[in-house]
Protein backbone atom coordinates (compact mmCIF):
# COMPACT_ATOMS: atom_id res chain seq x y z
CA UNK A 1 0.00 0.00 0.00
CA UNK A 2 2.72 2.46 -0.98
CA UNK A 3 0.16 5.11 -1.91
CA UNK A 4 -0.44 6.03 1.74
CA UNK A 5 3.19 6.92 2.38
CA UNK A 6 4.39 10.50 2.86
CA UNK A 7 8.07 11.05 2.22
CA UNK A 8 9.78 14.42 2.56
CA UNK A 9 13.48 14.68 1.71
CA UNK A 10 15.71 17.71 2.38
CA UNK A 11 12.81 20.10 1.91
CA UNK A 12 13.76 23.77 1.76
CA UNK A 13 11.46 26.72 1.26
CA UNK A 14 11.67 30.49 1.71
CA UNK A 15 8.85 33.03 1.65
CA UNK A 16 8.79 35.55 -1.20
CA UNK A 17 10.50 38.10 1.10
CA UNK A 18 13.39 35.56 1.41
CA UNK A 19 12.61 34.64 5.04
CA UNK A 20 13.58 30.97 5.28
CA UNK A 21 10.63 28.86 6.44
CA UNK A 22 11.88 25.28 6.02
CA UNK A 23 15.56 24.35 6.09
CA UNK A 24 16.26 20.76 5.16
CA UNK A 25 13.26 18.88 6.54
CA UNK A 26 13.21 15.09 6.03
CA UNK A 27 10.86 12.39 7.33
CA UNK A 28 8.89 9.39 6.17
CA UNK A 29 5.40 8.54 7.37
CA UNK A 30 4.11 5.02 6.78
CA UNK A 31 0.63 3.79 5.94
CA UNK A 32 -1.87 4.26 8.81
CA UNK A 33 0.49 6.21 11.05
CA UNK A 34 -0.82 9.15 13.09
CA UNK A 35 1.85 11.80 13.44
CA UNK A 36 1.73 14.99 15.48
CA UNK A 37 3.56 18.04 14.14
CA UNK A 38 4.37 20.51 16.89
CA UNK A 39 6.44 23.66 17.14
CA UNK A 40 6.31 27.29 18.21
CA UNK A 41 4.55 29.95 16.13
CA UNK A 42 6.49 30.50 12.93
CA UNK A 43 8.35 27.16 13.21
CA UNK A 44 7.13 26.20 9.71
CA UNK A 45 4.27 23.79 10.48
CA UNK A 46 1.67 25.35 8.19
CA UNK A 47 4.24 25.88 5.43
CA UNK A 48 5.19 22.21 5.64
CA UNK A 49 1.55 21.13 5.43
CA UNK A 50 1.00 23.31 2.35
CA UNK A 51 3.78 21.34 0.64
CA UNK A 52 1.99 18.05 1.25
CA UNK A 53 -0.98 18.95 -0.98
CA UNK A 54 0.90 20.93 -3.60
CA UNK A 55 -0.28 24.39 -2.53
CA UNK A 56 3.44 25.17 -2.31
CA UNK A 57 6.32 23.52 -4.18
CA UNK A 58 9.77 22.85 -2.68
CA UNK A 59 12.63 25.16 -3.60
CA UNK A 60 14.97 22.30 -2.93
CA UNK A 61 14.34 18.68 -1.95
CA UNK A 62 11.34 16.49 -2.74
CA UNK A 63 7.93 15.61 -1.36
CA UNK A 64 6.44 12.24 -2.35
CA UNK A 65 2.91 11.12 -1.66
CA UNK A 66 2.79 7.38 -2.29
CA UNK A 67 3.97 6.73 -5.83
CA UNK A 68 3.93 10.35 -6.94
CA UNK A 69 6.34 13.21 -6.37
CA UNK A 70 4.43 16.46 -5.68
CA UNK A 71 4.74 18.43 -8.93
CA UNK A 72 2.33 20.48 -11.05
CA UNK A 73 1.76 17.46 -13.28
CA UNK A 74 0.78 15.12 -10.45
CA UNK A 75 -1.51 17.60 -8.63
CA UNK A 76 -4.79 15.83 -9.51
CA UNK A 77 -3.51 12.53 -8.03
CA UNK A 78 -1.95 14.28 -5.02
CA UNK A 79 -5.11 16.19 -4.18
CA UNK A 80 -7.19 13.08 -4.55
CA UNK A 81 -5.15 11.21 -1.97
CA UNK A 82 -4.31 14.04 0.47
CA UNK A 83 -7.26 15.64 2.25
CA UNK A 84 -6.36 18.91 3.95
CA UNK A 85 -8.39 20.44 6.77
CA UNK A 86 -7.28 24.06 7.00
CA UNK A 87 -6.77 26.00 10.20
CA UNK A 88 -9.73 28.34 9.77
CA UNK A 89 -12.89 26.52 8.65
CA UNK A 90 -14.17 29.85 7.29
CA UNK A 91 -11.54 29.59 4.57
CA UNK A 92 -12.68 26.15 3.66
CA UNK A 93 -16.45 26.51 3.52
CA UNK A 94 -17.24 28.62 0.52
CA UNK A 95 -20.43 27.17 -0.96
CA UNK A 96 -23.92 28.48 -0.10
CA UNK A 97 -25.06 25.38 1.82
CA UNK A 98 -23.30 22.69 3.85
CA UNK A 99 -24.51 20.03 1.44
CA UNK A 100 -23.08 21.81 -1.61
CA UNK A 101 -19.85 22.44 0.21
CA UNK A 102 -19.39 18.79 1.10
CA UNK A 103 -20.29 17.84 -2.47
CA UNK A 104 -17.77 20.30 -3.92
CA UNK A 105 -14.83 17.85 -3.84
CA UNK A 106 -16.69 14.76 -5.15
CA UNK A 107 -18.26 16.83 -7.96
CA UNK A 108 -14.81 18.04 -8.96
CA UNK A 109 -13.70 14.42 -8.99
CA UNK A 110 -16.52 14.07 -11.56
CA UNK A 111 -18.22 11.23 -9.74
CA UNK A 112 -21.74 10.25 -10.82
CA UNK A 113 -24.55 12.12 -8.95
CA UNK A 114 -25.66 9.04 -6.95
CA UNK A 115 -22.10 8.47 -5.70
CA UNK A 116 -21.79 12.18 -4.80
CA UNK A 117 -25.03 11.98 -2.80
CA UNK A 118 -23.84 8.81 -1.00
CA UNK A 119 -20.54 10.40 -0.09
CA UNK A 120 -22.20 13.59 1.17
CA UNK A 121 -24.52 11.59 3.45
CA UNK A 122 -21.79 9.20 4.62
CA UNK A 123 -19.24 11.88 5.46
CA UNK A 124 -21.78 14.16 7.17
CA UNK A 125 -22.98 11.17 9.18
CA UNK A 126 -19.45 10.24 10.20
CA UNK A 127 -18.94 13.74 11.65
CA UNK A 128 -22.44 13.79 13.23
CA UNK A 129 -23.48 16.77 11.15
CA UNK A 130 -26.09 15.36 8.77
CA UNK A 131 -28.72 17.60 10.41
CA UNK A 132 -26.80 20.70 9.21
CA UNK A 133 -27.15 19.64 5.58
CA UNK A 134 -29.31 22.50 4.32
CA UNK A 135 -27.80 25.25 6.50
CA UNK A 136 -25.55 28.03 5.13
CA UNK A 137 -22.01 27.44 6.53
CA UNK A 138 -21.54 31.02 7.76
CA UNK A 139 -24.46 30.56 10.15
CA UNK A 140 -22.90 27.58 11.99
CA UNK A 141 -21.07 27.60 15.33
CA UNK A 142 -17.29 27.12 15.46
CA UNK A 143 -17.55 23.42 16.32
CA UNK A 144 -20.17 22.77 13.65
CA UNK A 145 -18.04 24.54 11.04
CA UNK A 146 -15.07 22.37 12.00
CA UNK A 147 -17.11 19.16 11.69
CA UNK A 148 -18.46 20.21 8.29
CA UNK A 149 -14.96 21.17 7.08
CA UNK A 150 -13.74 17.69 8.06
CA UNK A 151 -16.78 16.08 6.39
CA UNK A 152 -16.02 18.06 3.22
CA UNK A 153 -12.54 16.56 3.14
CA UNK A 154 -13.68 13.03 4.07
CA UNK A 155 -16.16 13.13 1.17
CA UNK A 156 -13.20 12.93 -1.19
CA UNK A 157 -12.15 9.61 0.43
CA UNK A 158 -8.55 10.70 0.93
CA UNK A 159 -5.88 8.17 1.92
CA UNK A 160 -4.06 10.74 4.02
CA UNK A 161 -5.64 13.33 6.31
CA UNK A 162 -3.64 16.50 6.93
CA UNK A 163 -4.97 18.85 9.61
CA UNK A 164 -3.80 22.26 10.70
CA UNK A 165 -4.83 23.09 14.28
CA UNK A 166 -8.04 21.04 14.23
CA UNK A 167 -8.92 21.80 17.89
CA UNK A 168 -8.19 25.53 17.94
CA UNK A 169 -11.15 27.68 18.96
CA UNK A 170 -13.27 24.75 20.10
CA UNK A 171 -14.96 24.52 23.49
CA UNK A 172 -13.78 21.58 25.68
CA UNK A 173 -16.69 19.34 24.79
CA UNK A 174 -16.45 20.04 21.05
CA UNK A 175 -12.70 19.42 21.29
CA UNK A 176 -13.30 16.07 23.00
CA UNK A 177 -15.91 15.09 20.42
CA UNK A 178 -13.54 15.97 17.59
CA UNK A 179 -10.74 13.96 19.20
CA UNK A 180 -13.01 10.91 19.52
CA UNK A 181 -13.96 11.35 15.88
CA UNK A 182 -10.34 11.58 14.74
CA UNK A 183 -9.36 8.58 16.86
CA UNK A 184 -11.91 6.52 14.91
CA UNK A 185 -10.31 7.29 11.50
CA UNK A 186 -7.96 4.70 10.09
CA UNK A 187 -6.39 7.11 7.59
CA UNK A 188 -2.76 8.12 7.71
CA UNK A 189 -3.02 11.30 9.80
CA UNK A 190 -0.71 14.28 10.09
CA UNK A 191 -1.91 16.77 12.69
CA UNK A 192 -0.19 20.11 13.28
CA UNK A 193 -1.19 21.64 16.59
CA UNK A 194 -0.27 23.58 19.71
CA UNK A 195 -2.69 21.33 21.60
CA UNK A 196 -0.02 18.98 22.92
CA UNK A 197 -2.50 17.05 25.05
CA UNK A 198 -4.50 16.23 21.94
CA UNK A 199 -1.33 15.11 20.15
CA UNK A 200 -0.51 12.95 23.17
CA UNK A 201 -3.91 11.26 22.91
CA UNK A 202 -4.11 10.80 19.16
CA UNK A 203 -0.62 10.45 17.72
CA UNK A 204 1.84 7.71 18.69
CA UNK A 205 4.59 9.62 16.85
CA UNK A 206 5.54 13.31 17.03
CA UNK A 207 7.77 15.55 14.94
CA UNK A 208 9.00 18.77 16.60
CA UNK A 209 9.79 21.62 14.24
CA UNK A 210 12.01 24.48 15.35
CA UNK A 211 12.94 27.39 13.10
CA UNK A 212 12.38 25.40 9.96
CA UNK A 213 14.28 22.27 10.97
CA UNK A 214 13.31 19.04 12.69
CA UNK A 215 14.33 19.23 16.36
CA UNK A 216 13.01 15.77 17.22
CA UNK A 217 11.13 12.89 15.60
CA UNK A 218 10.09 9.94 17.75
CA UNK A 219 7.48 8.32 19.96
CA UNK A 220 5.13 10.98 21.36
CA UNK A 221 5.39 9.71 24.93
CA UNK A 222 9.16 10.29 24.91
CA UNK A 223 9.24 13.51 22.84
CA UNK A 224 6.53 15.30 24.80
CA UNK A 225 8.09 14.31 28.14
CA UNK A 226 11.49 15.82 27.23
CA UNK A 227 11.23 19.17 28.96
CA UNK A 228 14.59 20.51 27.73
CA UNK A 229 13.77 19.72 24.10
CA UNK A 230 10.35 21.32 24.38
CA UNK A 231 11.68 24.47 26.06
CA UNK A 232 14.40 24.77 23.42
CA UNK A 233 11.70 24.54 20.74
CA UNK A 234 9.49 27.24 22.26
CA UNK A 235 7.04 24.74 23.77
CA UNK A 236 6.34 23.36 27.21
CA UNK A 237 5.24 20.07 28.70
CA UNK A 238 1.66 19.05 27.93
CA UNK A 239 -0.63 19.87 30.87
CA UNK A 240 -1.20 16.17 31.48
CA UNK A 241 2.52 15.56 31.84
CA UNK A 242 3.10 18.56 34.08
CA UNK A 243 2.91 17.98 37.84
CA UNK A 244 -0.40 18.11 39.63
CA UNK A 245 -1.15 21.83 40.27
CA UNK A 246 -2.01 21.01 43.91
CA UNK A 247 0.47 18.35 45.10
CA UNK A 248 3.11 18.85 42.37
CA UNK A 249 3.43 15.09 41.70
CA UNK A 250 3.94 14.02 38.09
CA UNK A 251 2.28 11.06 36.46
CA UNK A 252 5.47 10.36 34.53
CA UNK A 253 4.41 11.51 31.10
CA UNK A 254 2.68 8.38 29.97
CA UNK A 255 -0.41 8.90 27.85
CA UNK A 256 -3.66 8.01 29.50
CA UNK A 257 -4.81 4.48 28.68
Amino acid sequence: MSHHIVEVKDLEYSYPDRTPALRGVSFRIEHGEAVGLVGANGAGKSTLLLHLNGCLFPERGTVRIGDYPVTRQTLPQIRRSVGTVFQDPNDQLFMPTVEEDVAFGPINLQLPPEEVEQRVVRSLESTNSLHLRQRPPYRLSGGEKRSVAIAAVLAMSPDILVMDEPTSGLDPRARRRLMDLLAGFTHTKIIASHDLDMILSLCPRTIVLHQGTIAADGPTAAVLADQDLLLRSGLELPLRVQGCPICGRSCGGHPRP
Binding site: L50, N53, G54, C55, P76, R79, R80, V82, G83, T84, F86, D88, N90, D91, Q92, F94, M95, P96, E99, E100, A103, F104, G105, I107, N108, L109, Q110, P113, V116, Q134, P136, Y138, A152, V153, M156
Partner: protein, 270 residues
Amino acid sequence: MTRIEAGIGDLDTLDRLAAQDSPIHRLDPRAKVIATALFLLTVVSFSKYDIAGLTPLFLYPAVLLTVGLVPVRVLLRYLLIACPFALLVGVFNPLLDREIVVRWGGLGISGGWLSFGSIVLRFLLTASAVLLLLACTGYVAVCAALGRLGAPHLLTMQFLMLYRFIFILTDEGSRMVRAHGLRSFGAGRTTIRVWGSLAGHLLLRAYDRGLRVHAAMLARGFDGTPRTLRVSRWSLTDTAFVLGCGLFLALVRFGDPVDRLGSWCVGVFR
Protein backbone atom coordinates in the same frame (compact mmCIF):
# COMPACT_ATOMS: atom_id res chain seq x y z
CA MET B 1 -24.27 43.73 16.25
CA THR B 2 -22.77 46.37 13.97
CA ARG B 3 -24.79 47.86 11.15
CA ILE B 4 -22.63 45.95 8.69
CA GLU B 5 -23.55 42.65 10.33
CA ALA B 6 -27.24 43.59 10.31
CA GLY B 7 -26.91 44.38 6.61
CA ILE B 8 -25.45 40.92 6.00
CA GLY B 9 -28.43 39.36 7.76
CA ASP B 10 -30.54 41.12 5.15
CA LEU B 11 -28.39 39.98 2.28
CA ASP B 12 -29.24 36.33 2.49
CA THR B 13 -32.99 36.86 2.86
CA LEU B 14 -33.33 36.26 -0.88
CA ASP B 15 -31.41 32.98 -0.60
CA ARG B 16 -33.66 31.82 2.22
CA LEU B 17 -36.71 32.63 0.08
CA ALA B 18 -35.14 30.71 -2.78
CA ALA B 19 -35.09 27.58 -0.60
CA GLN B 20 -38.91 27.49 -0.53
CA ASP B 21 -41.00 25.26 -2.75
CA SER B 22 -43.53 26.64 -5.25
CA PRO B 23 -44.43 26.07 -8.91
CA ILE B 24 -42.13 29.02 -9.77
CA HIS B 25 -39.29 27.59 -7.66
CA ARG B 26 -39.63 24.24 -9.40
CA LEU B 27 -39.09 25.74 -12.86
CA ASP B 28 -35.70 25.26 -14.49
CA PRO B 29 -33.52 28.29 -13.57
CA ARG B 30 -32.74 28.75 -17.27
CA ALA B 31 -36.44 29.26 -18.04
CA LYS B 32 -36.65 31.95 -15.38
CA VAL B 33 -33.48 33.65 -16.60
CA ILE B 34 -34.78 33.71 -20.20
CA ALA B 35 -38.20 35.02 -19.11
CA THR B 36 -36.58 37.74 -16.98
CA ALA B 37 -34.31 38.78 -19.85
CA LEU B 38 -37.30 39.01 -22.23
CA PHE B 39 -39.17 41.03 -19.62
CA LEU B 40 -36.28 43.48 -19.15
CA LEU B 41 -35.93 43.93 -22.92
CA THR B 42 -39.65 44.63 -23.23
CA VAL B 43 -39.58 47.20 -20.42
CA VAL B 44 -36.69 49.17 -21.89
CA SER B 45 -38.13 49.06 -25.42
CA PHE B 46 -41.02 51.42 -24.61
CA SER B 47 -40.65 55.11 -25.53
CA LYS B 48 -39.74 57.50 -22.74
CA TYR B 49 -43.20 59.11 -22.50
CA ASP B 50 -45.14 55.83 -22.65
CA ILE B 51 -46.42 55.37 -19.12
CA ALA B 52 -49.74 53.80 -20.00
CA GLY B 53 -48.06 51.11 -22.13
CA LEU B 54 -45.88 50.01 -19.20
CA THR B 55 -48.67 49.48 -16.70
CA PRO B 56 -49.89 46.03 -17.89
CA LEU B 57 -46.34 44.73 -17.29
CA PHE B 58 -46.95 44.91 -13.53
CA LEU B 59 -48.97 41.74 -13.99
CA TYR B 60 -45.71 39.77 -14.39
CA PRO B 61 -44.13 40.65 -11.00
CA ALA B 62 -47.57 40.43 -9.37
CA VAL B 63 -48.01 36.83 -10.55
CA LEU B 64 -44.44 35.81 -9.58
CA LEU B 65 -44.87 37.45 -6.18
CA THR B 66 -48.08 35.57 -5.46
CA VAL B 67 -47.25 32.16 -6.91
CA GLY B 68 -43.58 32.33 -5.78
CA LEU B 69 -44.56 32.99 -2.13
CA VAL B 70 -42.40 36.12 -1.86
CA PRO B 71 -43.56 38.48 0.92
CA VAL B 72 -44.41 41.94 -0.49
CA ARG B 73 -42.62 43.76 2.33
CA VAL B 74 -39.30 42.00 1.49
CA LEU B 75 -39.59 43.14 -2.11
CA LEU B 76 -40.54 46.68 -1.06
CA ARG B 77 -37.61 46.86 1.35
CA TYR B 78 -35.11 45.99 -1.38
CA LEU B 79 -36.80 48.39 -3.82
CA LEU B 80 -36.56 51.15 -1.22
CA ILE B 81 -32.82 50.53 -0.85
CA ALA B 82 -32.29 50.82 -4.61
CA CYS B 83 -34.75 53.64 -5.37
CA PRO B 84 -32.42 56.61 -4.62
CA PHE B 85 -30.40 55.62 -7.71
CA ALA B 86 -33.47 55.64 -9.96
CA LEU B 87 -34.76 58.90 -8.49
CA LEU B 88 -31.37 60.49 -8.99
CA VAL B 89 -31.37 59.52 -12.66
CA GLY B 90 -34.76 61.10 -13.34
CA VAL B 91 -34.92 63.96 -10.87
CA PHE B 92 -33.75 66.63 -13.30
CA ASN B 93 -36.09 65.64 -16.14
CA PRO B 94 -39.01 67.85 -14.97
CA LEU B 95 -36.61 70.85 -14.87
CA LEU B 96 -35.04 70.25 -18.27
CA ASP B 97 -38.07 69.18 -20.32
CA ARG B 98 -40.89 71.64 -19.54
CA GLU B 99 -42.89 71.29 -22.72
CA ILE B 100 -46.51 70.36 -21.98
CA VAL B 101 -47.30 67.12 -23.79
CA VAL B 102 -50.49 65.96 -22.11
CA ARG B 103 -53.46 67.93 -20.86
CA TRP B 104 -55.52 66.21 -18.24
CA GLY B 105 -58.61 68.28 -17.47
CA GLY B 106 -57.17 71.72 -16.80
CA LEU B 107 -53.79 70.31 -15.73
CA GLY B 108 -50.87 70.39 -18.16
CA ILE B 109 -48.24 67.68 -17.66
CA SER B 110 -44.78 68.39 -19.03
CA GLY B 111 -42.66 65.83 -20.90
CA GLY B 112 -40.14 65.94 -18.04
CA TRP B 113 -42.67 64.74 -15.48
CA LEU B 114 -43.86 62.02 -17.86
CA SER B 115 -40.34 60.73 -18.51
CA PHE B 116 -39.58 60.94 -14.77
CA GLY B 117 -42.67 58.84 -14.05
CA SER B 118 -41.63 56.42 -16.78
CA ILE B 119 -38.12 56.06 -15.27
CA VAL B 120 -39.61 55.29 -11.86
CA LEU B 121 -42.01 52.75 -13.37
CA ARG B 122 -39.22 51.09 -15.34
CA PHE B 123 -37.09 50.95 -12.22
CA LEU B 124 -39.91 49.33 -10.25
CA LEU B 125 -40.53 46.79 -13.02
CA THR B 126 -36.93 45.86 -13.79
CA ALA B 127 -35.70 45.80 -10.18
CA SER B 128 -38.64 43.71 -8.99
CA ALA B 129 -38.24 41.27 -11.91
CA VAL B 130 -34.58 40.67 -11.03
CA LEU B 131 -35.26 40.50 -7.28
CA LEU B 132 -38.06 38.00 -7.89
CA LEU B 133 -35.78 35.94 -10.13
CA LEU B 134 -33.26 35.74 -7.28
CA ALA B 135 -35.93 35.11 -4.62
CA CYS B 136 -37.47 32.24 -6.62
CA THR B 137 -34.21 30.73 -7.89
CA GLY B 138 -31.25 31.62 -5.66
CA TYR B 139 -28.09 33.42 -6.65
CA VAL B 140 -25.96 30.35 -7.28
CA ALA B 141 -28.62 28.64 -9.42
CA VAL B 142 -28.94 31.84 -11.50
CA CYS B 143 -25.17 31.86 -12.03
CA ALA B 144 -25.22 28.17 -13.00
CA ALA B 145 -28.12 28.85 -15.39
CA LEU B 146 -26.21 31.70 -17.02
CA GLY B 147 -23.28 29.33 -17.47
CA ARG B 148 -25.48 26.66 -19.06
CA LEU B 149 -27.02 29.28 -21.36
CA GLY B 150 -23.54 29.94 -22.73
CA ALA B 151 -22.22 32.80 -20.58
CA PRO B 152 -18.40 32.51 -20.24
CA HIS B 153 -17.25 30.43 -17.25
CA LEU B 154 -14.95 33.21 -16.17
CA LEU B 155 -17.92 35.55 -15.83
CA THR B 156 -20.13 33.15 -13.89
CA MET B 157 -17.19 32.27 -11.60
CA GLN B 158 -16.67 35.98 -10.95
CA PHE B 159 -20.34 36.31 -9.99
CA LEU B 160 -20.11 33.32 -7.65
CA MET B 161 -16.89 34.49 -6.03
CA LEU B 162 -18.28 38.02 -5.69
CA TYR B 163 -21.22 36.68 -3.76
CA ARG B 164 -19.08 34.49 -1.51
CA PHE B 165 -16.55 37.23 -0.86
CA ILE B 166 -19.16 39.82 0.09
CA PHE B 167 -19.65 37.81 3.28
CA ILE B 168 -15.92 37.46 3.90
CA LEU B 169 -15.26 41.14 3.21
CA THR B 170 -18.07 42.38 5.44
CA ASP B 171 -17.02 39.93 8.13
CA GLU B 172 -13.47 41.28 8.13
CA GLY B 173 -14.81 44.83 7.84
CA SER B 174 -17.16 44.53 10.79
CA ARG B 175 -14.39 43.07 12.97
CA MET B 176 -12.09 45.98 12.09
CA VAL B 177 -14.81 48.56 12.72
CA ARG B 178 -15.53 46.94 16.08
CA ALA B 179 -11.83 46.89 17.03
CA HIS B 180 -11.57 50.53 16.02
CA GLY B 181 -14.70 51.45 17.99
CA LEU B 182 -13.42 49.73 21.12
CA ARG B 183 -10.27 51.78 21.19
CA SER B 184 -11.51 55.13 19.89
CA PHE B 185 -13.71 55.76 22.96
CA GLY B 186 -16.15 57.75 20.86
CA ALA B 187 -13.55 60.49 20.56
CA GLY B 188 -14.51 63.00 17.88
CA ARG B 189 -14.57 62.12 14.23
CA THR B 190 -12.39 59.48 12.67
CA THR B 191 -9.68 61.15 10.63
CA ILE B 192 -9.24 60.39 6.99
CA ARG B 193 -5.83 58.93 7.84
CA VAL B 194 -7.38 56.29 10.08
CA TRP B 195 -10.05 55.47 7.50
CA GLY B 196 -7.37 55.19 4.84
CA SER B 197 -5.44 52.76 7.00
CA LEU B 198 -8.60 50.75 7.78
CA ALA B 199 -9.48 50.51 4.10
CA GLY B 200 -5.93 49.50 3.17
CA HIS B 201 -5.86 46.83 5.84
CA LEU B 202 -9.25 45.57 4.79
CA LEU B 203 -8.03 45.16 1.23
CA LEU B 204 -4.88 43.30 2.32
CA ARG B 205 -6.78 41.07 4.75
CA ALA B 206 -9.44 40.29 2.17
CA TYR B 207 -6.70 39.49 -0.33
CA ASP B 208 -4.98 37.13 2.12
CA ARG B 209 -8.28 35.49 2.91
CA GLY B 210 -8.97 35.16 -0.80
CA LEU B 211 -5.67 33.32 -1.27
CA ARG B 212 -6.52 30.91 1.56
CA VAL B 213 -9.99 30.21 0.20
CA HIS B 214 -8.46 29.59 -3.22
CA ALA B 215 -5.95 27.17 -1.71
CA ALA B 216 -8.83 25.34 0.01
CA MET B 217 -10.69 25.13 -3.29
CA LEU B 218 -7.65 23.78 -5.13
CA ALA B 219 -7.10 21.24 -2.36
CA ARG B 220 -10.53 19.84 -3.15
CA GLY B 221 -9.90 19.38 -6.82
CA PHE B 222 -11.21 22.68 -8.19
CA ASP B 223 -9.97 23.25 -11.75
CA GLY B 224 -11.79 26.45 -12.74
CA THR B 225 -14.98 24.79 -13.97
CA PRO B 226 -17.99 25.56 -11.76
CA ARG B 227 -20.02 22.39 -11.17
CA THR B 228 -23.26 22.21 -9.22
CA LEU B 229 -24.86 19.50 -7.16
CA ARG B 230 -28.21 19.35 -8.90
CA VAL B 231 -28.38 19.59 -12.64
CA SER B 232 -31.94 20.57 -13.49
CA ARG B 233 -33.67 19.18 -16.54
CA TRP B 234 -35.68 21.25 -18.98
CA SER B 235 -39.29 20.04 -19.02
CA LEU B 236 -42.45 20.82 -20.94
CA THR B 237 -43.56 23.13 -18.09
CA ASP B 238 -40.45 25.24 -18.64
CA THR B 239 -41.15 25.55 -22.36
CA ALA B 240 -44.76 26.49 -21.57
CA PHE B 241 -43.59 29.10 -19.02
CA VAL B 242 -41.17 30.75 -21.46
CA LEU B 243 -43.71 30.67 -24.32
CA GLY B 244 -46.46 32.03 -22.03
CA CYS B 245 -44.24 34.88 -20.83
CA GLY B 246 -43.12 35.63 -24.39
CA LEU B 247 -46.72 35.72 -25.61
CA PHE B 248 -47.81 38.01 -22.78
CA LEU B 249 -44.88 40.38 -23.38
CA ALA B 250 -45.50 40.46 -27.16
CA LEU B 251 -49.15 41.23 -26.50
CA VAL B 252 -48.29 44.09 -24.16
CA ARG B 253 -45.63 45.47 -26.49
CA PHE B 254 -47.41 45.20 -29.82
CA GLY B 255 -51.09 44.56 -29.02
CA ASP B 256 -51.73 47.92 -27.33
CA PRO B 257 -53.93 46.37 -24.61
CA VAL B 258 -54.37 49.65 -22.70
CA ASP B 259 -55.83 51.46 -25.73
CA ARG B 260 -58.08 48.52 -26.53
CA LEU B 261 -59.27 48.24 -22.95
CA GLY B 262 -59.85 52.01 -22.91
CA SER B 263 -61.88 51.98 -26.14
CA TRP B 264 -63.81 48.96 -24.92
CA CYS B 265 -64.67 50.69 -21.62
CA VAL B 266 -65.66 53.87 -23.44
CA GLY B 267 -67.86 51.74 -25.75
CA VAL B 268 -69.54 50.01 -22.82
CA PHE B 269 -70.31 53.22 -20.92
CA ARG B 270 -71.44 55.23 -23.93
